[in-house]
C-alpha cells in the first residue's frame, strides 16, 4: 500500500512493502512495529533504534504523533485520496472568512471590537474567562469584523462561533 504522508510541512512517500519492510522516499528500511494493546502507544524498532510514539487523532482530524518529546502533526493519504483532493482544487479557503471559535468553554468578559471594525493581525477580539484566567483571543490576520455573535457576560461552549472576520 502506497501513502503520501505529510509530517508538519514535509511530504514523504511511504510504501508498506510487507509487515517488516517499509520504503520511505524510495529507501527501504527494516521495521519492527508493535502496538501496545488498549493504548495509543506504539513501539517501532528501526535498525536497532527503539522509538516509542503516542499517536492520536487531533482536533483537525489529523494524526498527532508524540515522538521523543516532539509533537508532530501527520496527514496520511493514499494515492486515490490525494488525486481526489488535487482534483477538488487546492487552496480553497485562503482568502475566505475566518471565524473565531471558543477554544474552550468559558465566560465572555469583553468583546473588544465592533461589527464593521477594520482590524490588524494580533489585535485582541475577545477576552474569555476560563480556568480562572482571563485569556485574550487575537485575530490571526488583518481584516474586517463582519459579524459578532456574543456579548460580555455570555457563557460559551467549546468551538462556539464568536466573531467573523473577512
Amino acid at each position: 500500500m502506497k501513502y503520501i504522508t505529510t509530517i508538519d510541512d514535509t511530504q514523504y512517500e511511504v510504501e508498506i512493502l510487507n509487515p517488516r519492510q517499509v520504503s520511505i522516499n524510495g529507501k527501504v528500511v527494516e521495521v519492527d512495529f508493535k502496538s501496545v494493546s488498549g493504548q495509543p502507544i506504539y513501539s517501532l524498532l528501526v535498525d536497532g533504534k527503539s522509538y516509542q510514539a503516542h499517536v492520536y487523532t487531533g482536533d483537525e482530524d489529523d494524526l498527532q504523533v508524540l515522538l521523543r518529546g516532539v509533537l508532530h502533526t501527520a496527514k496520511v493519504e493514499d494515492e486515490r485520496e490525494k488525486r481526489l483532493r488535487a482534483a477538488a482544487g487546492g487552496g480553497s479557503g485562503e482568502g475566505g472568512e475566518f471565524v473565531l471559535k471558543a477554544p474552550m468553554p468559558g465566560l465572555i468578559v469583553k468583546v473588544a471590537v465592533n461589527e464593521g471594525d477594520e482590524i490588524k493581525k494580533g489585535q485582541v477580539l475577545v477576552i474569555l474567562e476560563s480556568m480562572k484566567m482571563q485569556n485574550e483571543l487575537k485575530s490571526p490576520r488583518d481584516g474586517k469584523v463582519t459579524r459578532i455573535q456574543v456579548k460580555a457576560g455570555d457563557s460559551v461552549e467549546q468551538r462556539q462561533s464568536m466573531i467573523s472576520v473577512e
Binding site: M1, Y3, T5, I7, D8, T10, Y12, V14, I16, V22, I24, V29, V31, F33, S35, Q39, P40, I41, Y42, L44, V46, Y51, A53, H54, V55, Y56, L63, V65, L66, L67, R68, G69, V70, L71, H72, A74, V76, P103, M104, P105, G106, V109, E129, S130, M131, K132, M133, Q134, N135, E136, Q158
Partner: protein
C-alpha cells in the same frame, strides 16, 4: 481531639490532604460540585457530599453549604487547601464559631496578612524590611495612586489588595500608561476576589522570588523549614520551583538570616500552623517582605522532599493541639528538589487553557520521582477551575542530578486528550541560564522563547512518517475488517462479550 476532617477543596490538593489523613488514620469527608462527581478526591475519600453547581461561587466558595456538610458528617476539622476559602478570615471564624477546628491560622492572622497594606505595616513595625510602596489603608483612589506612584518612582507594580497568584497585577513603566492599567487591574481583581482594591509597589529589577516555609504550633513555637526558589514565573504565575534556592545555595548564614526574619514576620501576627513568607531578593542580597501566604502552598512538596518532613501531617498535628515535632536545630535540608507544575494549557498557543477528556495517561515513576495528581485516565478536565492538573516533583542528591532526573521524568510523562505545558518545562530545563541558576522573575518573559528553544531540537520526521503511516494503515485494515463482519459477530465489543460470558 477530632478524628474526621472535611477537605474544603478539590483537585490534587484535596487528594494530597486525604492521603495525609489516611496516613494518620483519620476519616475524610470530600465535598464536590456538579462538575466533580467523578473527581479523584470524591473517589478516595471515606465520605463525599454534593455542595452545588460547577461554578466555584456556587459550590467550593459556599461556606454555608460546606459547614452544613461538616456538621452533618460530624467532621471535627476542616482543611481548606489553597485557593477557594483558604485565606478567608470569615471562613476561619465561621469554623471556630461552629466548634470546628480550622486547619490553618487564626482569623486574626489571616485578616492581618490578607490585606496586603496592613500586612506590610505590621511586619515593618516588627522590623522586617518591606518593598517601598503604598502602605497604610490600601483603599486609595486612582488619583491618590497616581500621585503616590510619582514618589515611589517607576517601574512599579499595581497589585490587588485581596489577591495572590498574579491576578489583578500590572506592571507600570511610566505615568502615561498607568490609568488604563489601573482600570484593568481593578477589573481583574474584582472578578477574581470580589474586591477591586489595589496598591502600588516598587518593582525590584532583576529580583528573585524566594520564599520561606514557616510552621508554628499553638504554644508559639515558630520555626522555618528553609527556602524555595520561585523565580521561574510567567505572567506572575509560578511554573517551576526548587528547594533550596540556587541563589542562596551554600550560604547558610544568609539562609538563617532570612529564615529568622521570616519567623519574625510570622510571629508579628501570632501565626499558628503552616504559612509562607515571600521575599523579593535583589542581586546584592537585599531582601524585602512581599507578602505572607497564610495557607499551604502549591509548592510545599519540594520543602517536604529536602527536609523529610510531611507538612500536611504536621498541619493536622498542630490543629490537634500537638507541639511541633521538631526544633529549628533539627531542621536539615538534604539534597535538591524541583517541582514542575503540569497545567492543562497549550504552551504553543499563548498558554491557552485546554479542557477535555484525558483518554490516556502515563505517569512517571522510579527513583526520586513524586507525582501529586488530581486527575486520571478517564477524567474530564472542566473549564471551571484552575488548570493545574498535577505536580511533578523530583529529588536528587544535587541540583544537577535533580535537573537530569526531572528531564527523564518529563520524558516519561504522557497526557493524551488535553494539551499540557510539559514541552515548556522540557525546554526550560535545557536553558544554559536555568542550568547555571542565573535567572530572575522575568526570565521566562524576557529571555525565553519556546519557539526558539525548539528550533535546535533533534527531531525524527522520517520515523514519525513511518509510524503515522503504519498506524493509519492498521486503522484502515481494522475498520475494513469490522465493517465486513456480520452484525451478530460482536465478539470484539467488550460489554457484549462480558455479558455473554456471564450468561452462557
Amino acid at each position: 481531639m477530632f478524628n474526621k476532617v472535611l477537605i474544603a477543596n478539590r483537585g490534587e490538593i484535596a487528594v494530597r490532604i486525604i492521603r495525609a489523613c489516611r496516613e494518620l488514620g483519620m476519616q475524610t469527608v470530600a465535598v464536590y460540585s456538579e462538575a466533580d462527581r467523578q473527581a479523584l478526591h470524591v473517589r478516595l475519600a471515606d465520605e463525599a457530599y454534593y455542595i452545588g453547581p460547577a461554578p466555584s461561587r456556587e459550590s467550593y466558595l459556599r461556606m454555608d453549604h460546606i459547614l452544613d456538610v461538616a456538621k452533618k458528617a460530624g467532621a471535627g476539622g476542616i482543611h481548606p487547601g489553597y485557593g477557594f476559602l483558604a485565606e478567608r478570615s470569615d471562613f476561619s471564624q465561621a469554623c471556630v464559631d461552629a466548634g470546628i477546628s480550622f486547619i490553618g491560622p487564626k482569623p486574626s492572622a489571616i485578616a492581618a496578612m490578607g490585606d496586603k497594606a496592613i500586612a506590610r505595616a505590621t511586619v515593618a513595625a516588627a522590623g522586617v524590611p518591606v518593598v517601598p510602596g503604598t502602605e497604610g489603608e490600601g483603599s486609595l483612589t486612582d488619583e491618590e495612586l497616581l500621585k503616590a506612584a510619582q514618589s515611589i518612582g517607576f517601574p512599579l507594580l499595581i497589585k490587588a489588595t485581596a489577591g495572590g497568584g498574579g491576578k489583578g497585577m500590572r506592571e507600570v513603566r511610566n505615568l502615561e500608561e498607568m490609568p488604563e492599567l489601573l482600570e484593568s487591574a481593578r477589573r481583574e481583581a474584582l472578578a477574581a476576589f470580589g474586591d477591586g482594591n489595589v496598591y502600588l509597589e516598587k518593582l525590584i529589577e532583576g529580583a528573585r522570588h524566594i520564599e520561606f516555609q514557616v510552621i508554628a504550633d499553638e504554644d508559639g513555637n515558630t520555626i522555618h523549614l528553609g527556602e524555595r526558589e520561585c523565580s521561574l514565573q510567567r505572567r506572575h504565575q509560578k511554573l517551576l520551583e526548587e528547594a533550596p534556592s540556587p541563589f542562596i545555595d551554600e550560604d547558610e548564614e544568609f539562609r538563617q538570616k532570612m529564615g529568622a526574619v521570616a519567623v519574625k514576620a510570622a510571629k508579628a501576627v501570632g501565626y499558628v500552623n503552616a504559612g509562607t513568607i515571600e521575599f523579593l531578593v535583589d542581586k546584592d542580597k537585599n531582601f524585602y517582605f512581599l507578602e505572607m501566604n497564610t495557607r499551604l502552598q502549591v509548592e510545599h512538596p519540594i520543602t517536604e522532599e529536602v527536609t523529610g518532613l510531611d507538612i500536611v501531617t504536621e498541619q493536622l498535628r498542630i490543629a490537634r493541639g500537638r507541639p511541633l515535632s521538631l526544633t529549628q536545630e533539627q531542621v536539615r535540608m538534604q539534597g535538591w528538589a524541583i517541582e514542575c507544575r503540569v497545567n492543562a494549557e497549550d504552551p504553543h498557543n499563548n498558554f491557552l487553557p485546554s479542557t477535555g477528556f484525558i483518554s490516556h495517561l502515563t505517569v512517571p515513576t522510579g527513583p526520586g520521582v513524586r507525582v501529586d495528581t488530581g486527575v486520571y485516565a478517564g477524567f474530564n478536565i472542566s473549564p471551571y477551575y484552575d488548570s493545574l492538573i498535577s505536580k511533578l516533583v523530583v529529588k536528587g542528591e544535587s541540583r544537577a542530578q535533580a535537573i537530569l532526573r526531572m528531564r527523564r521524568a518529563l520524558e516519561e510523562y504522557h497526557v493524551v486528550g488535553v494539551k499540557t505545558n510539559i514541552p515548556f518545562h522540557q525546554r526550560i530545563l535545557e536553558q544554559a541560564r536555568f542550568i547555571a541558576g542565573n535567572f530572575d522573575t522575568r526570565f521566562v518573559e524576557e529571555r525565553f522563547s519556546l519557539e526558539k528553544a525548539e528550533e535546535g531540537m533533534e527531531t525524527h520526521p522520517e520515523i514519525a512518517a513511518i509510524v503515522a503511516t503504519l498506524v493509519a494503515n492498521d486503522q484502515t485494515q481494522r475498520s475494513a475488517h469490522i465493517i465486513s463482519r456480520g452484525k451478530r459477530d460482536t465478539s470484539n465489543w467488550k460489554w457484549v462479550s462480558r455479558w455473554e460470558r456471564m450468561h452462557r
